[in-house]
Symmetry: C2
Subunit: 148 residues, 2 copies
């Protein structure tokens, strides 16, 4: 899946990603990096609104699982169960979220459970980036279903 294909998928299925003007920058099995401009995501302090920051993190984490499962179980569906988020410093311009598996070594077990039981859980981290530095951290637990 190319960045442009992921972007189109998000725009089509999750209209909030379009409102936020999300762009997919990097898409691989190792990581997904999404970016968004300040203007549609601004708050009362002229910084990035916390809701936009956590939404970009959720989108990047969800996209990573979506991309990884596309090749293995294309019918699989992924839903967020819980997440936590820290906001470390204000972002006053374009920002990004870089998602990677929290424990890549758990992927094979996750896949086996998904194929065997039709349902499995896995955690994804996403780092908020502003001007090349970490500006926040997301950790989310997702559940995947083998069929919609």
């Amino acid at each position: 899946m190319t960045p442009s294909e992921l972007e189109q998928y998000l725009f089509e299925k999750i209209p909030l990603s379009r409102a936020m003007q999300v762009a997919a920058i990097e898409v691989s099995e190792q990581c997904v990096r999404l970016r968004a401009p300040l203007a549609p995501n601004v708050n009362h302090r002229a910084t990035v609104f916390g809701g936009s920051a956590s939404t970009l993190a959720i989108l990047s984490a969800w996209s990573l699982l979506h991309v990884r499962l596309q090749g293995r179980l294309p019918g699989a569906s992924i839903v967020i169960q819980r997440h936590s988020m820290t906001y470390e410093r204000p972002m006053t311009g374009e920002f990004a979220a870089l998602a990677a598996l929290a424990s890549p070594e758990q992927w094979p077990r996750f896949l086996r459970a998904l194929e065997r039981w039709g349902k499995a859980r896995i955690c994804v981290n996403s780092m908020l980036e502003y001007r090349g530095e970490q500006a926040g951290l997301f950790n989310g637990e997702f559940v995947a279903f083998a069929r919609e």
Copy 2:
């Protein structure tokens, strides 16, 4: 502050709230309830997107502090520091977030700290509601600054 005044404030300062078609339903010092329709907040499963759900919760929690501080320290500014969120069941239509202080008895101490030191922290809960039942739970820690 009336629901309509809060709504206008959010629309003006946080454009994402407009994209989500957020409506303010209840606004008091005890609680703030915000509502949003499914269409602009839908995901690939035709349920409410997790990013929209957590954003509505953040907006409701932030609004509660904004409303409470308006009467006391109108120049105060509120920023989210961290939050956690659980998603308990899918929502397939209009949803709401009802925010209240996590520990109302801490409010006087919070205000004193804010007036004395110009900075103080407080936690707010927000319950996601779908068809009158709890569908998720948000807990967020906010820091307030006495002046912008």
